[in-house]
Amino acid sequence: MLAEGLDTLIRALAEDGFQVVGPTIDQQAIVYGEIKATSDLPRGWTDLQEAGTYRLQRREDEAYFGYVVGSHSWKKYLFPPVTLVASADLGENGWRMQTPEPDPVKYAFLGVRACELAAIRIQDQVFLGGPFVDPTYEARRSRAFIVAVNCTQAAPTCFCTSMNTGPRCDSDFDLALTETSSGFLIEIGTDAGQVIAALLPVRPANSTEIDQAEIARQRAADQITRRLDTDGLRDLLMNNLRHPHWEEIAQRCLSCTNCTMVCPTCFCSSVSEVPDLTGEHVDRERHWDSCFNLDFSNMNGSPTRNSISSRYRQWMTHKLATWHDQFGSSGCVGCGRCITWCPVGIDLTREVVALRDTTGNDLSRLSDSNAESAEANR
């Protein structure tokens, strides 16, 4: 498909009733927003990322998807930052509680990266895989159409290869694109994808085009330098809950919650009461919350996790250790967002190295009793 075909794709999806959302430039960053036409895409722009740094830069070419990932992720559509979960009305017979019909919105996600497909799989497990299913997530997820786009470059913050989540999109998409200098190579993942693909100006790819796409994808893989050694990681963390390094991190961490807000898998939330002026109608709004917030663990008037070290420990051990117990996978897909968007540049991969390097000496003595725990908690 030639680049011009992208407009046909956007139109076809819109005509099928989808609200097309994808990458666009806002406030000097590539974020996800409504896409009406290719002109909304960040064509010719790329992002420079490092721990604590994000900057847009002109590309030398006019690529549409020549960037990595920004601060947004698709979770803002599937698990919106604010959701109405219930409401209450005071009538003659007292309070009546209702739950809203899920919003029938149908999203088409344009430009989903491999690590983001993995993040969606992880949130599927959280919101749909347990004894209770979240109705909002379920409604939005079941209707979503996913156009994945393979990465052809990587940022220094990326480590999907360590997490086995990318950079190649291999499943869980309706359509997957690979952008090359001569256009887009399309893979079809589902019947729904097939139906849309049939409306596009496409022809079978020749072997040169297939090779070109492969080279472009390989470039992304080759650019990945960051590593997270996941070998025995769960037990390493759970056996070191009293490691002094948590304190050391707390000297730097501001407990600002950025890392949790940008993370595509973080799912913590709280429900607030929003009464109208009469007090006779109350909306119950669920909003994103964070384990870095002090009152998140409030119990009997005081927080259980009163220190930054205990909150950082909660975040990291949840992501990289207890997530395995709870949902059968790591909670991290290696997208690097938390590294880029941390105002003080805390990098979880380096903190893991620091924990690893200082374990096994006399410090491990402090955590002996937790070794059994690792076993018992399986």
Binding site: A88, P135, E138, D172, T190, A192, G279, N298, N370, S373
Partner: protein, 285 residues
């Protein structure tokens, strides 16, 4: 479209309107609230297991987790014993009989009592921790012959803090050995003075390896009660504790009640000691 998602299931946010059917003062600062579910079809099918909890909701103020303290066989209303702690509990204490509020539940896993037919039981409660044990006590009284010895040790700060004290003699008559104890006694209190651990320490246990302990109360109390029970030969996997953390959604989706790998709301609040022992003493977890 990309995932195999089934048709919408039951909505976990669905909140039932309930009416305050009765309010009973218990010990100072604590009251029991019997709530009648308004919708007849819901009311007639509402069942719970001993140890489960409900989310009680006052519109505009918030929703809180409260254990069910009723007899699992009782019908018509569901009793909750509530300690006035802050905003929502205070508002609950002010509700008049006949007022409406919301209820979601029941949630959580109960006491694993069916696994332990034929065993000896030791129940250890501290303060309001007796509330979630009360449905279990009702169950045991109704099925007394299915169990061996049953001991119930409960502690309170002072004699006036002993919850449900009017029921003790009926429990005793029903075949439970009831041992109330208080931290601070005086001359008008003829009963036991000291921690529940002191009684547990010298409780006659004929077959400790066949004995099960279930406890609910301050975490520190449960921890030491577990140590003593295990010291005395009770198997660690037969010791159960009921934990508390901040709880927001009760359905495992909000992240608040995590305790290491556990979600208290859906994996607990009742855990075998084995499962949580290694992290119970990690500070600020």
């Amino acid at each position: 479209m990309t995932s195999a998602i089934t048709a919408p299931r039951f909505d976990p946010w669905r909140t039932h309107a309930v009416r305050v059917a009765r309010k009973t003062p218990e010990v100072p600062g604590v009251f029991t609230c019997d709530l009648a579910i308004q919708e007849a079809t819901v009311a007639s099918t509402y069942r719970f297991a001993p140890g489960q909890f409900n989310m009680l909701y006052i519109p505009g103020l918030g929703e809180i987790a409260i254990s069910i303290c009723d007899d699992p066989q009782s019908r018509g209303s569901v009793a909750h014993t509530i300690r006035i702690a802050g905003n929502v509990t205070h508002a609950l204490s002010e509700l008049a009989v006949g007022s409406t509020l919301g209820l979601r539940g029941p949630f959580g896993v109960g006491w694993p009592i069916d696994e332990y037919r034929g065993r000896d039981l030791v129940l250890v409660a501290g303060g309001i921790g007796l509330a979630p044990l009360r449905p279990l006590i009702c169950h045991l009284l109704a099925h007394r012959q299915e169990f061996g010895e049953i001991h119930l040790i409960m502690g309170a700060r002072e004699p006036s803090g002993l919850l449900y004290s009017a029921e003790y003699s009926a429990w005793q008559d029903g075949g439970l050995n009831v041992y109330p104890t208080v931290d601070r006694g005086d001359d008008s209190w003829p009963g036991h003075i000291g921690m529940v651990t002191a009684i547990l320490d010298r409780l006659p246990l004929c077959r400790p390896a066949e004995t099960v302990m279930m406890s609910c109360g301050p975490e520190t109390m449960m921890w030491y009660a577990a140590q003593i029970a295990i010291d005395r030969g009770v198997r660690p996997e037969s010791v159960y504790v009921s934990l508390e953390r901040n709880m927001n959604c009760a359905i495992g989706l909000c992240g608040h009640c995590q305790f290491g790998p556990q979600f208290l709301c859906k994996d607990g609040p009742i855990f075998s000691y084995n499962r949580v022992a290694s992290i119970m003493k990690v500070a600020d977890l």
